[in-house]
Every structure is written in C-alpha cells, then in structure tokens.
C-alpha cells in the first residue's frame, strides 16, 4: 500500500477545506486541529471550524534547493500566512514571482496539487495560497 494513504485520506478535510477546530468556551481557533483546548483544558469544548482561507503574509522564504517532488517548481515561495481568524499556517504561494511577495500582502487559498506519489501513485491535493488581486 502507498505510504501515508490513510493519513492523507484522514486529513482531506483539513487539506481541501481548511477545517480546523475551535473552543466554544474561550473562542480560540486551531489549525491544524486540536482535540483539547490548551487554555481551557477539561472545561473546554472543541468542535470543527472552517477557516475562510483569507489572510496575510506574516513571513516568507524563497526555496531554491527544493526537496524531491518540487524540483521543477523552484524558485518558489513558502510563506507563513496569518489567517484572518488568527492561526498561522505554512503554505506555498503560487502564480507569482518571489519578488512580488511582501510581508503584509493579502492572500487567499487556492486548491492545487501538492505532490504526487510518482507517476503511478495517488495525487495529493490541498491548500496553497495566491496573492489577492
């Protein structure tokens, strides 16, 4: 079986639709999902929460020596995005040149192919971000 197949399947809601969690008690939001609120502990109440996919660039780097599977995309931008709802998320910024990126620029999520397990394995789709027009 392809390595990580079940994990990918389990994470699809997060990867496809930015489904995180929030604590109904203290309103804290989490991505990736948390099962227990670190603030409220036993008194917390966790449920699923869908993030809007909108945010801004908090920090970024340009990847010039990419890992396997990303060789032909270099140079590409990897950013820490501060989501509108608060949490930070690391993701690729697509359809732009590294020189177009600035801290504070607004971004929104897009649905893209993240990596494929070779030419015969599964294709893992998920979130990336693009600069907002």
């Amino acid at each position: 079986m392809t390595k990580g197949l079940a994990t990918h399947w389990r994470l699809m809601p997060q990867r496809y639709n930015l489904i995180g969690t929030h604590c109904k008690n203290c309103k804290s939001k989490f991505f990736p999902q948390r099962k227990i609120c670190p603030k409220c502990r036993r008194t917390g109440s966790i449920e699923e929460f869908k993030f809007s996919g909108k945010g801004e660039i908090y920090s970024y780097t340009t990847v010039c020596a990419p890992p396997q599977g990303f060789e032909y995309q270099a140079p590409y931008v990897l950013a820490i995005v501060k989501m509108k709802e608060g949490p930070f998320i690391t993701a690729q910024i697509v359809d732009c040149k590294p020189e177009e990126i600035e801290i504070g620029k607004k971004v929104e999520t897009v649905f893209r192919k993240v990596i494929a397990d070779g030419s015969s394995g599964i294709i893992r789709y998920g979130y990336k971000f693009k600069l907002r027009d």
Binding site: Y16, Y72, Q73, V94, F111, R112, K113, I115, I123, D133
Partner: protein
C-alpha cells in the same frame, strides 16, 4: 417546473503563450498561423494545476454565485478529456473539495470537447425527474497538443461549472437537443500522451455537420430563427470554425462576439462552450435568448436554448470571467514546455 441555471463559476490558469512564440519555435509564419487559426494566445496551466483543480475552482465559484448549500447537490458530473486519473473519479475530488459528499451521485464523463455540456444534460434529466434538487455540471480540461502540431496553437486549459436546478434560476434552459454519429475525426488511444486528428476531415464531415444540424434542428422544433436570439455560442476549436458556423446558420458577428473566447484563451476543450456561455451570462439581461451548441469529436453536438431571467441582473456573478481573462502573465516556449511536461527526462509526476 422550469429547469435551468441557478449559478455558475469559471476558472482560467494565469499563464499564457502567444501563437507567434509557438510559430517561432517551429519555423512557421506567425501571421499566417494567427490568421489561419484565428488565435492570438492560449492559457497554460501551472505545474500544480490539472483538470481536477480547475474543476474545483470553478465549482467553488459557482457555489458562491448560487448561494446554495453544498449538501443540497445531488449529482456531480465532470466532463474532461484530461482527467488526472485513468481510474479514480475527478468528480469525487470535486465533491469533497466543495463539501458536497457523501449523499450524492458522481461520475466523470468524456466526449472530447463536449463532455461539459453532456454533464449539463445529465443534471437536467435528474432535476426534471425530481430525483435531485441541484446538479453540478462541470467542463474542465488541460488539453494536449503534440509539439509542432497545429493543435499546439490552440490546446489550452480552463473550465466552467453550472449548478442546475428548478428554483431561483438566472437562466431557464427551454430545450436541449443532441446530434450524434460515429465520426473518427480526432482521438487519443489509451496510454497515448497526445491526440491525433484527421486534419481537414475535422471540418465539414465533423464539426460543421454536427454543429449546423444540431443548431438547425433545435431552432426548427422550437419555431425560432437566428434573429430571435440575442446571443449564440458555438464550440471553439479555433477562432475561425465558430465564426463560419455562425455565418452558415444565419447569425451575425454581433450575436457571437461576446462568447467567442478562443482567440485569447485557446480551446479549453470540455470548458469551451460552457466558458463561452458563462461569458454571455456575465452580461446578458432578463429576456435575452441564447443558443449554445457544443461539439465533441467522435462526434456529437449538444444544443441548448437558454432564456435569461431578471434574476441574472439582480444576482450578477461576483467573479466574472473577464477577471480571469485579464489576469495573465506570458511565458516563452521553454517555460511552456516545462509546465506541460514536454521536456525529455523531466518527469512531472502528473
């Protein structure tokens, strides 16, 4: 109850290559190619875009426009000739990405360039039969053209999604009619990377025979003439065929101008007629009548008579197609060859 379009969405990749850049590489006269094919430039998908990602973006846009709940979608059909998997549906990826799963039926369709309109017909049938509340029909492609072949100037990427239902319609589909024969004008065998075609044979006995017959038959049975329509859109394998088809049928250039997109985006295959229709809906007013006729090699045409409602003026699409047409960046042939996986030794794991 009337069946029709509740909402629609579109998507085009950002990158473009100009026809003269392709002509330069293959030693062709750029002006002759542009004039001969009626094409200036075409869209190029990024490395991480395929028919599934395009379908998802178009579907999400259609959901925003329609305002319906994804869980109310009872069927998803994705038409494409470039589904990312040979076995494993694109439609389930779309279903999960718009949170419409699990209570729905879903399938992928393939009929060269007309699988998108075939998807609309499938949804219409289920909605009219009362089996589903809404159906999602998508035409999406990242089409292939062999290097140096005439198809390379036109084969592009893009897609459109339509939510078909009975309530809150922006346009009513008054009738649909299809004309289908076994005509081997264009094909791609299993495992082959590029399609082949019958050159001139793709014209008279293929494209024109089906588009003309299908359009004439649907107008005849509805007692309508070309002058009764404000707009018409015909499948656009290049910039010339739809113009000639319109002329042969008796439509003037004003009626087809708005939906004629191939000169600037290329042939988006299953997305071609749906995108042309979406471009018209972006501007059409209540009461406007549209004739839409697709064509898929192999071969067949689907015609639709669509009457726009006042709702389309009240509820304009927040992301009109022009946004995607204007959002562009040119690449040269070398980058295009990389993005399309045409460089020997480069395995893009597409």
């Amino acid at each position: 109850m009337a069946v029709g379009i509740v909402g629609y969405g579109t998507y085009l990749p950002k990158y473009r290559i100009k026809a003269e850049e392709i002509a330069r590489v293959w030693g062709k006269d750029p002006e002759a190619m542009k004039k001969g094919l009626g094409i200036y430039e075409k869209t190029v998908p990024n490395l991480d875009e395929d028919a599934a990602t395009i379908a998802v973006e178009a579907a999400r846009s259609a959901l925003r426009h329609s305002g319906i709940k994804p869980a109310d979608i009872g069927a998803i059909y994705v038409g494409s000739e470039s589904h990312p998997y040979a076995v494993k549906p694109t439609a389930t990826i779309v279903g999960a990405a718009i949170e419409a799963t699990p209570e729905l039926t879903a399938a992928d369709l393939e009929f060269a360039c007309k699988a998108g309109t075939a998807a609309i017909q499938c949804c219409m049938g289920l909605v009219e039969a009362g089996r589903i509340k809404y159906g999602l029909a998508i035409g999406s492609d990242t089409s292939q053209g062999m290097p140096g072949d005439v198809l390379e100037y036109t084969a592009s990427a893009g897609g459109a999604a339509f939510i078909i239902g009975e309530r809150n319609l922006i346009a009513q589909i008054k009738d649909t009619y299809s004309f289908t024969t076994d005509t081997p004008d264009f094909w791609r065998r299993e495992g082959q990377e590029f399609p082949r075609h019958g050159a001139r044979f793709t014209g008279e006995p293929a494209y024109f025979k089906h588009v003309i017959n299908c359009s004439n038959k649907i107008m005849e049975r509805n007692e309508l003439k070309p002058k009764d329509f404000q707009y018409a859109v015909f499948h656009q394998p290049n910039g010339r065929f739809p113009v000639k088809a319109a002329k042969l049928l008796g439509f003037d250039q004003e009626q087809i101008k708005l939906g004629l997109l191939t000169p600037w985006i290329g042939n988006t295959y299953s997305g071609s007629t749906p995108l042309g229709l979406a471009r018209i809906l972006d501007e059409a007013k209540g009461g406007d009548l549209i004739l839409a006729t697709s064509y898929g090699s192999g071969a067949g045409s689907d015609s639709f008579i669509i009457e726009v409602t006042k709702e389309n003026e009240r509820r304009r699409n927040p992301t009109p197609l022009q946004c995607f047409i204007d959002r562009k960046e040119y690449v040269d042939y070398a980058i295009y060859a990389k993005l399309k996986g045409k460089i020997k030794g480069v395995v893009l794991e597409k």
